[in-house]
């Protein structure tokens, strides 16, 4: 196996795992609450600025994790309370509301930080040598962290008491209420978890990309493609969607070029919308 081929294979793994983590928050909120949070990318952006703020002050990069947790959590709390809660079960209204929110967050970031690119210094520079190839250390760590986060969430959702109650709420909200599950609070918690996940995704990618107010748009687009393919309401769907979209994009980009990679993603997304609008695992 040629070293270049191996690196491209790791690139595919990197593309899929990081995409899955970046989509997770959106998928949680959309799949579980039926709220399409257009501002998802802006929460990623907020997380990235947290990483910038921490490192610009000379503090260790890892401090960005608790900072993003607090900032995106509080933001999620307020947004859920004033914007989302009055609009549950009104999908179009939440779409418009979160779209407005995305503009607001972008403009706020622009007002605070300006439009200029910010760069976050890589917390782990250099490459690691293994199996005869060199691969950037930070990206390898990201792959590992992404897999851990996904696995942890998967296990937690499937077996914890709260995970089970969320599934109960999603499947049958009336019955969940009858059994004493405080659905409003649980939904708020789920929304906040989604925004926090987005923020942590932002912290993760911040050292790799230009940090700027518009960066969220990049993530929300790919995230929607993943949801289109993966369908709603299952962690497995997110993984399948991220695998299909991230994998196809990475593989075609590696084999031909980025334009064909993007083209393939668009075609697949359109085919899914057309032929399997409920996603890959939809059962009739």
């Amino acid at each position: 196996m040629s070293p270049i081929f191996l690196i491209q294979a790791i690139n595919v793994l990197y593309g899929v795992t990081t995409l899955a983590v970046l989509v997770l928050g959106l998928a949680v909120i959309f799949g579980l609450l039926g709220v399409l949070n257009i501002a998802h990318g802006e929460f990623v952006m907020v997380g990235a600025y947290c990483a910038w703020a921490v490192t610009a002050d000379g503090l260790p990069f890892l401090l960005a994790v608790p900072l993003a947790l607090v900032v995106c959590g509080l933001l999620g709390l307020v947004v859920e309370r004033v914007l989302i809660r009055p609009l549950y079960h009104r999908p179009f209204d939440t779409l418009v509301a979160t779209w407005g929110l995305s503009l607001l967050l972008r403009k706020t970031a622009e007002a605070i930080f300006g439009l200029g690119f910010r760069s976050v210094r890589l917390p782990l520079a250099g490459t690691w040598h293994f199996l005869g190839v060199d691969y950037p250390s930070y990206r390898l760590v990201l792959i590992a962290v992404s897999i851990l986060v996904l696995a942890a969430l998967f296990l937690w959702y499937g077996s914890s008491r709260t995970g089970m109650r969320i599934r109960a709420m999603v499947g049958n909200a009336d019955l969940a209420q009858a059994q004493g599950i405080a659905v409003k609070r649980l939904a708020a918690g789920t929304f906040i978890a989604g925004t926090i996940l987005a923020g942590l995704g932002g912290v993760m990618v911040a050292p790799l990309v230009p940090v700027q107010p518009f960066m969220g748009l990049d993530y929300v687009l790919r995230a929607f493609f993943v949801l289109v393919v993966g369908g709603l309401g299952s962690v497995l769907g997110v993984l399948a969607g991220a695998g299909a979209i991230g994998g196809l994009d990475s593989v075609v980009s590696a084999l031909i070029d980025g334009t064909y990679g993007y083209f393939t993603v668009l075609v697949v997304a359109i085919l899914f919308l057309w032929l399997r609008p409920r996603g890959i695992f939809a059962h009739n």
Binding site: R167, A168, N172, D174, Q177, A178, Q179, G180, I181
Partner: protein, 246 residues
């Protein structure tokens, strides 16, 4: 100390509040359509109130009013004399009201086991042995998704879950729908056992034979109103049937 001594004072002034679940002249519905109009009734501890009536006369709507899914436009609901008006369904559950709905009675996406243990602190099946003795089918299907059960099996799962909560008030909406007669009899036994321990029931039913086995009082509804109400002993089968069939 002084607080403790003065506590019983209000009871001396008011007549003792009626225990159990009481609803007084409740009204409500969906949007601009009022479905339930001025209904009153009660289930005292150790008593079963059977709500009868044809399809679409507002029986399930009455349940939703009692549980707080939809607001009462008029009248009020009291538990042991305390009004429940401002409480949402989870809060009423915490006050001690169990509910087994007619539609979608179980969590289809959860296993039978998870359906039973979802809200149990110990998350074990220890408390279910007496129920499994009556409904062995449940024990055999513990690891199956509840969505794969038949309609009648879901009803059984639902009532077992509800009764196992061991609360003071239980609301059942058509518990016998789709259930085999043999299992309906088991349900009736279970209800009788709980009743003997002082539990108050309100049961919406279409199945008169089942209702006759469990009811202490009847409330027969038509077009959202009470058309016949009173103790079982005072209401004959023919009078009820006159309202159940057109």
């Amino acid at each position: 100390m002084t607080g403790q001594r003065s506590a019983p004072a209000p009871a001396a002034q008011d007549p003792a509040p009626a225990p159990g679940l009481v609803f007084e002249a409740v009204e409500g519905g969906y949007g601009s359509a009022t479905v339930v109009r001025g209904l009153s009734g009660m289930a005292a501890p150790g008593e079963v109130l059977c709500v009868l009536g044809r399809n679409g006369v507002g029986k399930s709507t009455l349940m939703k009013l009692l549980l707080g899914y939809i607001p009462c436009l008029a009248g009020r609901v009291l538990l042991d004399g305390r009004p429940l008006d401002r409480l949402d369904p989870p809060a009423r559950r915490r006050r001690g009201i169990t509910y087994c709905p007619q539609e979608r009675p179980v969590f289809d996406d959860l296993s039978v086991r998870d359906n039973l243990t979802l809200m149990r602190h110990d998350r074990t099946l220890a408390a279910f042995a007496p129920y499994f003795a009556r409904f062995p089918i449940l024990e055999r299907r513990l690891n199956q998704h509840a969505g794969t059960l038949s309609g009648g099996e879901k009803k059984i799962l639902s009532i077992v879950r509800g009764l196992s909560e061991e609360e003071r008030v239980v609301l059942l909406d058509e518990p016998s729908e789709g259930v085999q007669w043999e299992n309906i009899l088991h349900m009736a036994e279970l209800i009788a056992e709980r009743k003997a321990k002082g539990v108050a029931f309100i049961v919406v039913e279409q199945n008169l034979a089942f209702a006759e086995r469990i009811a202490d009082r009847y409330l027969v509804m038509d077009q959202g109103k009470s058309v016949l109400a009173g103790p079982r002993a005072e209401i004959g089968r023919d009078a009820i049937l006159a309202h159940l069939h057109v």
